[in-house]
């Protein structure tokens, strides 16, 4: 585009009026730097419009100027280094009021913080209490569930109860087993009438199959301090008799310790 065309296009007018797009404005700026004719035309448009604006003067109120100057002086003092600023009495009262509010709010903070701490403590205690109750409930639920399992074993119509009687070495001992003989072959034992095993020793359960003892598993004597617990042993499809011996901890593949109780089918 030639300079003449740019000048006559009206773009320079829009530029002066602030109506040109950012891109157009940048273009005009660089053209004005390059071509004195463009710069001169812009200056002429500006001067024409400025004169036009001067014909539309509306004098502001005389107080406006003072307000502007007091505003710029307040600002520059805020920026400057530690000048003494005279404050109007309104601001003095405002400052005093804000200090009172601040102190009041600080006192309230202390009071409410104390209250908060007490409430927080109570809350922590309540949480602990709640957790205790929850734990108790959980353990009750668990023992209830175990009890139900036990009852299930005892009540099952398929379980065949077998009493294991005390033998020569422990005439007072006794135990009961429940054998799901004709269904799953599961064996449960109630060891509650066995005497407490000495430390380092454990009861081992045996089934006699074809005249030979077969390991039926170790009896857990106490469980969470509760020794009266019916527990599942190894499964036997067939057996002529069941027995319990006292073995060193961990048990053995063949019975080595004293025979405590025994019951024949």
């Amino acid at each position: 585009m030639e300079i003449k065309d740019i000048i006559s296009s009206g773009l320079l007018e829009l530029y002066v009026l602030g109506m040109a797009s950012e891109q157009e404005a940048d273009e005009v700026t660089s053209l004005a730097k390059k071509y004195p004719e463009v710069a001169a035309e812009i200056a002429a448009i500006e001067s024409g419009l400025q004169t036009y604006a001067m014909m539309h003067v509306v004098e502001p109120r005389s107080s406006t100027k003072e307000k502007i100057f007091s505003a710029i002086n307040t600002t520059s003092q805020t920026n400057g280094a530690g000048k003494v600023v005279s404050i109007s009495s309104f601001w003095k009262y405002a400052a005093a009021a804000s200090i009172i509010l601040l102190v009041g709010s600080a006192i309230l903070n202390v009071i409410y913080y104390d209250k908060y701490k007490i409430a927080d403590k109570n809350y922590a205690a309540a949480v602990i209490e709640k957790n205790n109750v929850r734990d108790q409930l959980a353990s009750l639920e668990e023992s209830n569930k175990e009890m139900k399992n036990d009852m299930g074993v005892i009540q099952s119509k398929y379980s065949e109860p077998v009493t294991l009687r005390g033998q020569a070495d422990a005439p007072e001992a006794a135990a009961k087993i429940f054998w799901m003989k004709n269904t799953t072959g599961e064996v449960y034992i109630d060891p509650s009438n066995l005497p407490e095993p000495p430390s380092g020793m454990q009861y081992q359960f045996w089934g006699f199959v074809d005249g030979k003892p077969v390991d039926g598993g170790l009896i857990v004597f106490t469980k969470k301090g509760d020794k009266y617990r019916i527990q599942k042993m190894k499964t036997f499809g067939k057996a002529e008799a069941f027995a319990v011996t006292l073995e060193t901890e961990g048990g053995h593949p063949q019975p080595e310790g004293k025979l405590f109780v025994m019951g024949k089918m």
Partner: protein
Amino acid sequence: MAEDIKYSEEELVLSLQRRDQKAFSYLYDNYAGALNGIICRMVEESQLAEDILQEAFLKIWNNFSQYDSSKGRLFTWMINLTRNLTIDTLRSKGYKKQQKISRDENSVSNYHDKNAGADKFDTLGLRKQVANLKPEQKSIIDLAYFNGYTQEEISKEMGIPLGTVKTRMRSAIMELRKMLEYN
């Protein structure tokens, strides 16, 4: 305020860059009326208009470093700043731009009747010249210059195609310039 010193535009700009309050005072004395004229074209409430004028001058003072003399005259920068500030203020208060325009169709003479003492120019002679502007030429200048209308808004307001706004603006301002030169 007495005008002891006369500043050239260059001196004025340099002094304002040095944050010379005397120069700022001179600036105010010479241009506040013109800027206020623009504000009053768009704002009806006199208190709001005064607030905007104050804010405009604070902006001119605080943001003076943003003025780039290579991009145009100081007055052009100030008037564009003032116009944009006024439009933004009105918009933030939910006003529309066209608020006052219809009432001010013949405002050159109206405003001067109200401001008899305002003349720093010999505006009487100028006014006679400008009165010869065709109404549509005056309108297109006023809408853009005093009311900050965009090209689209002018096209709509005046019922002319968007593409011709630029050329119409050019010829209207050319006409205005011719009249002012003859004076």
